[in-house]
Structures are given as structure tokens and as C-alpha cells.
């Protein structure tokens, strides 16, 4: 029996050996070295001297580091919240009983499979001062008269129709889907006519907003990071949507049937059935999303010198920047200390999220 158990242990360890080796060398050993470097003034070339907590103290006095920390945490929270909500909405929409779901699922997923390098470059082009986004916004602003009159027209038509329906005794709600289609159709025709006859005119506009190169803040984050936020959401929402979609398919349909009998509307069903039932998936999604966004690096590196360092820097980039910046000697000590803070921050935020945020069991 003893030899059996020994044998089992031996085989088990033989099979995990390749994995354990990589884990020990590239993770455990590396982590220990990072800890030891963080207490020295190591620079890759000359021997390291022990400096105690100097690196950590210096970091707390370094404005760029503080900026990077604030940027990272804010970015992580903003992106996680927005993309979780959007992905849930998209999953619910895609989960409705319609044909051709596979097509939409595939189409939505494309941004998620492409490399962050490619997508970031495409977005940097979109965000250029004379780029597509500013051109697009200019056109929207230019057509404000049309948009405003279209919205007015739509609501007037809808109101008239709904009042008529109520008057003849039909239980029609204000956003009735059928009447809305009719209102929309008439609105489009009206706007086309006003455009052709020149009843409403627009003046050319040129918006040239500085998305990437600006030093300004918008709310809690630099404008540049907001631009990256949009790109990050664009590429990550599809992945999360798929996870939610898989979760939605496990919710028993009799829950909804029971709710319908009790007279719960769609919104109440979403709040009281879908969201609680999805809690295990949401927990995973939020945790993965926090870990992912806290290490945001690629976009910052690809932005390069076209944006000021302080309006794009994140902790992950700060760590790299201290170690391999183009100018000066590698500050491995400082870099390691910052890396440890990044690692600790990740653990703390994940812990707080598990403790007070979305729970695995609702």
C-alpha cells in the first residue's frame, strides 16, 4: 500500500513537473527577486546596495507615481462598472427569442479577438485631431437642427397616435413599438422633405477636439484615459457579453413564467431574477475585469510621445518606464517597489470587491 501511495505521488509530481518548473522559475523566484530588489538601488549593471525603505518613501513623494496610481485605480473602476453594465444589457438583448443570433454574436465578438496593438492604432487614428471622430462629431453638430426637429416631430406624432388609441379604448403605452415605427417612418420622410426644400438649413462646423494630446482632466481622469476607456470597453464588452450569455442560458425559464403570472414587468424581471441569478458570473466577470484593467499597459505604450506622459501613465507603464526608459540608467529598485505596490493593490482591490462588492452568492 505504501508503495502504491508513493507511486501515485511520484506520477502526480512527474506530470505537473513542467508546469511547476515554469511556475517556480518565472513566478515564485521572480516575485522573490522583485521583493529583494525593491530594497536596493540595483540598476542592472553595478552591484546592488541595500537602501531599506527608501524606494517606497521616494515613490510616495514622486508626483508621477501618485498620478499613475490615481489614474490606474480610477480607470479600473470606471471601465469595470461601465463594461459590466453594457455587457449585461447586450447579453439580455441578444438572449431574446429571435432568429439569427449566431450572426450577431459573431459580429459583436470581432473586436475582442484582434490584438490590442492593432485596435489601439486604429483608435489612435480615429482620435487624431483631424481624424474621423472629430469629423463625425462635426457632422452631428452640423445636423443639430435636423436632429432636434426630428426628435420633436417623433414625439408629437407618437403623442397624437397614443392619445387617439387611448380615446378609442386601447390599452396602448407611450412607447408602443408599432406606433413608434409609424412615427419614425413619417419623421424620416418629413426630415428628408425639409432638407430637400431647404426649409431647415445647417451651417458647416469644424470641431477639432484634442483627444490624445491634451493635459486636461475630465471628471476624475485625464481626457486621454477617457479615450482609452472607450477603446477598452469596445474590445472587452464582447468577451464579457459571452460569459453573461452562457450564464443567462442556465437560468430556468419557469422563474420568468412565474414572475409574468405575478404581473412583473420586464424591468422588474431583470432586477429581481436575471441579476441575482447571474451573480456567480458577475462575480467572475468583475474580478477578471479589475485584474485586467489594473495592468493596462499596451495602449499607453502605443500612444507614445503623442500624449503627455502624465495624462496617459498607469502603474504598469510606470514600472516599465522606470526600468527601461529611454533616458538614464534603469532604476530597478524603484521599478520593483512600484511593481510590488501594483501587485498589492491588485490583491487589495480584489479582496475589497469580494468582501463588499458583487458576491458570488446573492
Amino acid at each position: 500500500m505504501i508503495s502504491k501511495a508513493l507511486q501515485r505521488n511520484f506520477y502526480g509530481w512527474m506530470l505537473v513537473l513542467p508546469f511547476v518548473l515554469t511556475l517556480l522559475v518565472f513566478f515564485v523566484f521572480a516575485l522573490i527577486r522583485t521583493v529583494s530588489y525593491s530594497f536596493t538601488d540595483y540598476d542592472l549593471f553595478s552591484p546592488a546596495n541595500f537602501v531599506g525603505f527608501d524606494n517606497f518613501i521616494n515613490l510616495l513623494n514622486d508626483e508621477l507615481f501618485l498620478r499613475a496610481t490615481i489614474n490606474t485605480v480610477t480607470f479600473s473602476l470606471v471601465v469595470t462598472v461601465i463594461q459590466t453594465v453594457l455587457a449585461l444589457g447586450l447579453a439580455v438583448l441578444l438572449n431574446s427569442k429571435i432568429k439569427g443570433k449566431t450572426f450577431f454574436r459573431t459580429a459583436f465578438y470581432v473586436p475582442s479577438i484582434l490584438s490590442s496593438a492593432s485596435v489601439t492604432l486604429i483608435f489612435i487614428w480615429i482620435y487624431q485631431k483631424n481624424g474621423f471622430l472629430n469629423g463625425f462629431i462635426s457632422q452631428i453638430v452640423e445636423s443639430t437642427p435636423y436632429i432636434v426637429s426630428a426628435i420633436l416631430c417623433f414625439f408629437i406624432l407618437q403623442t397624437v397616435q397614443v392619445i387617439h388609441h387611448r380615446f378609442i379604448g386601447l390599452p396602448t403605452r407611450f412607447f408602443d413599438p408599432l406606433l413608434a415605427i409609424i412615427s419614425l417612418f413619417i419623421t424620416v420622410v418629413m426630415v428628408y422633405i425639409t432638407n430637400r426644400t431647404g426649409l431647415i438649413t445647417s451651417t458647416p462646423m469644424a470641431i477639432s477636439m484634442n483627444w490624445l494630446g491634451s493635459r486636461d482632466d475630465f471628471g476624475p481622469m485625464p481626457v486621454t484615459l477617457w479615450a482609452i476607456t472607450i477603446q477598452n470597453i469596445y474590445t472587452t464588452v464582447p468577451t464579457i457579453m459571452l460569459l453573461f450569455l452562457a450564464g443567462l442560458q442556465t437560468i430556468p425559464s419557469d422563474l420568468y413564467e412565474a414572475a409574468e403570472i405575478d404581473g412583473a414587468n420586464k424591468w422588474q424581471q431583470l432586477r429581481h431574477i436575471t441579476v441575482p441569478q447571474l451573480a456567480p458570473v458577475t462575480f467572475v466577470v468583475v474580478t477578471l475585469s479589475i485584474i485586467g484593467t489594473l495592468q493596462m499597459f499596451d495602449q499607453v505604450a502605443l500612444l507614445g510621445t503623442s500624449s503627455p506622459l502624465e495624462s496617459r501613465i498607469t502603474l504598469a507603464y510606470y514600472v516599465y518606464h522606470q526600468a527601461f526608459s529611454d533616458s538614464g540608467t534603469p532604476q530597478i529598485g524603484v521599478s520593483s517597489a512600484a511593481a510590488l505596490i501594483l501587485g498589492a493593490l491588485t490583491l487589495v482591490i480584489v479582496f475589497i470587491q469580494n468582501k463588499f462588492g458583487v458576491k458570488e452568492k446573492s
Binding site: Y11, G12, L15, V16, P18, V20, T22, L23, F26, F27, A30, R33, T34, L44, L93, I98, F104, T106, A107, F108, Y109, V110, P111, I113, L114, S115, S116, A117, S118, L121, I122, I124, N130, G131, F136, R166, G169, L170, D176, T239, L242, A246, P280, I291, Q295, D298, A301, L302, G304, A316, V319, Y320, I332, A339, L340, L342, G343, T346, L347, V350
Partner: protein
Amino acid sequence: MKHATQIKSIPDTYYKRRRLAKTAWVYSALLLIAITTLGTFAIAFMASLKDNALSEPTNFNFGQVRPSNWVGALNLGLAGNNAPLFGGFAPGADISFEITYAVSDDDSFATPVIKIPRRRPGTGMAAALTTNYAADYAIVTSPVLIEQQDNVNYTLKRGVKKDFLKGKSATWRFSVKYQGEGPVIDTLPLDITTPRSQMLIDSTLDPSRFERRGRVASWVNMSPGLIGYVFRSYVRVWNESVSLETGQSLFLSWTSNSFFIALAKVLLTVVIACTAGYAMARMSFIGARFLFLLMIFSMTIPGQVTFISNYEIFNALGILNTPWAVITMLVASGQVLIMKQFFEKFPRELEEAAIVDGASPLAILVHVFLPLAKPALASIIILGFQGAWNDFFWPMVVLTSPADVYTLPVGLLSLRNAYGVAGDWSLILAGSFLTTIPVLVVFIIFQRHFTGNNIGSAVKG
């Protein structure tokens, strides 16, 4: 609601129509979202075809999408180098070209001045290597007036301002010939100068741009061939970024590096994930629980925390700037987890018979479990390929010089640094799109492994 009681029964069709209308709204919403996601790529792709991706960003009616130019480019490529697709300027070339100008009725025509300028093609590293100029071999025949017309409507463009005018037009024809013997030259630039009031309204091939306030119509290449014209940036990204030492296309090196690294990484991942996943799922050995916790811990720690030590390891081994530094730096925790969770689902009886027969664990894994694990294997292979292909941070750290050793994402960064300042975004976008092709192909072939429920079940555990 008072009125609702007045009608005793609401007809069935009332609800049926509403349900249909609602479905229509859902479809419209889905379609709108699909247009937003795919449209972003579509507009960027269109822009990558333009001569200058930043000119008139919302205008998508430009030379490269007009069939008349496709025909022109094809014929010109044929005349210049007997190459309808890629064009060029070779000995024996005799390229005939027509240009039509318009002026207002009280103005008179001036004969256009035609010149083959001595211009370096592009802005990249290839420009530094250019030794042959079309200008040294080309002779231009003087333009012959072949047609005149009255009552012509034309548009006078001055920046964003457009004036719709009426006047007369004149068409000239000239040819560009290759004089004597010499090398085949890729690009044949062309400049045609006229007075400001004389407007170019038609030509065999639309000009690339106007210079000097509309006086000079300029062609980057007047014998481009079809692909050379429509996909000029793509041809450029391939040809123009070359190694200064070997003269070889860098983009080609990056592509082969990326393929080699991704495939080797996938192979290693599969071996590690299968063996470790199997052992952790089916065998109880001392330390298994601790190993599991360590694995989860390693997944939460960012790569930036451990990269310095790993950099030093590869530096000490002397394999920085080789593909091996990227391939072997592999902690496959995520993939091990997927395989472990997949193997856990199988019933105990599956392996018991084999154990009784005295089969070793490795034999059981290979002969019993792996044949059943195809879906999970497909997932880790495909996602592993995608991950390795798109990987950016670690290759950027260990692959620094020479530029031949980069992978595609790192290469894109160098393109962005080299061409971004000059504003040459057509080329950067073209590079981005070329980079995405392999992953897109894998996605289209294996899309159910991407969007199927495997990923979901792996995460849900």
C-alpha cells in the same frame, strides 16, 4: 385606463402586431450595434486605402473606390511594366495618359506643363535605400490637344469651399516612355502644372493630391497597377519597411516570427496544460492543494511585477532578441485551469478499468482522456494562438534590436513611432489590418470555439 373597459375584447391582432413590431426594434438595435462594432473597422479599412488617411476623414468617395480608376490603374500598369496588378516602370514602357481641364468661358486654356519629378517614394526606411529614379529614364512627349467642348459643368474646389461653374473643357494626351535600358522602377511620379483657374476635371487616373493651391496636380505613381493603386499602403508596408542591413522586408520577418512563436507556444502550452491539468484533476498527490492556490495567485499578479527577474534570466542565458525568449517564458496557469476543470467532469469508472489493466497515468491520459478532451483542447489551442499572436508586453521587453526580431505587435509599435510623426496613417492602418488577418482567419474557421459555451463553462467552473 377608464376607456379600456369600454371595448369588451381587444382583438388578437392588436397584440400580435405589437409583438412583431417589438421584434423589429430588437433587430434594429442589434443591427445598429453590429454596424457600430464592425463599422469602426470598415471606416478604418477604407481610410487605409486613401493616399492620406487623415484627409477628409468622413468622405468615403475617393479615388481608390471608383471603378474608373481601377480600369485606369490596370491599363497604366500594363503599359508601364506589363504588370496589370502591381505596375512599375520598365524598359520599353510607353504609357499614354489623358487629362481634361475646364476653365470659365471668358478664360483661355494654357497647355499643361508635364514633369516627372525626382522624388523619393514614401517616407520610410526604403526611401533611404532608393537608388533609381524614374526621372533619370523617362521622357515625356509634349501634350497633344485632342478634344474641346463647350457648355461644361464643373466644380471648382478651394479647400473645403466648392463652386459649381459652367465653362469649356479641353483634353490633352501625352505619353511617358522609358528611354534605353535600365532597371525596373517601382514608382513613376508625375506632376502637371497649370494656371490656378484651370481645373482638372478628368484624367486616366485621378491625381493623388493637389499642390501649390491647386496649380499642381500630383500623382504618386502614374503606373501603379490595380493592387498597387487600390492597396498602395499595403504594398508599401510590405516593401517600404526593410532591414537596413539585409534589405529584406521587415514586415515579412515579423510575420514569420509571429507565426513561429505562436505555434511553438501553443505546442508547449498544450503539453503543459494537459499533463498538469490531468494530474491536478485526477490524482491526489502531496501539495496538490498548495499548487492550486499558487496557480490562482499567479493569475492575479500582473506580468509587470515579475518581468525584471525574467528579463535577467534570459539576459544571462544570452537569448534576448531571439524567439526563444518569448516562447519559453510561459506560465500556463489559465490553460491548466481550463484542462483541470474539464478533466474533473469525467466519471471515475473511466480510468479505473485502465488502472486495473496496469496502464501508467501517462498512458491513461493519452489513450483515454485526450480523445475525449477535444473541445477543451480546441479551446486552449485556439485561444492560446490568439493570445500568443496578440501578446505585446513581454515581446516588447525582450525583443529590442535589430528590428528583424520583432513580432508583429512590436513591429506595429515601431511603425507607429516611425510614421506617426509624419502623419502617414494610411501605412500604419494598413499594417494593423495585415496583422489581424491570421487571427481573423482562425476566428472565421473556428468561430464556434470562440463564441461557444466552452469559455463560459470554463469560467463558471
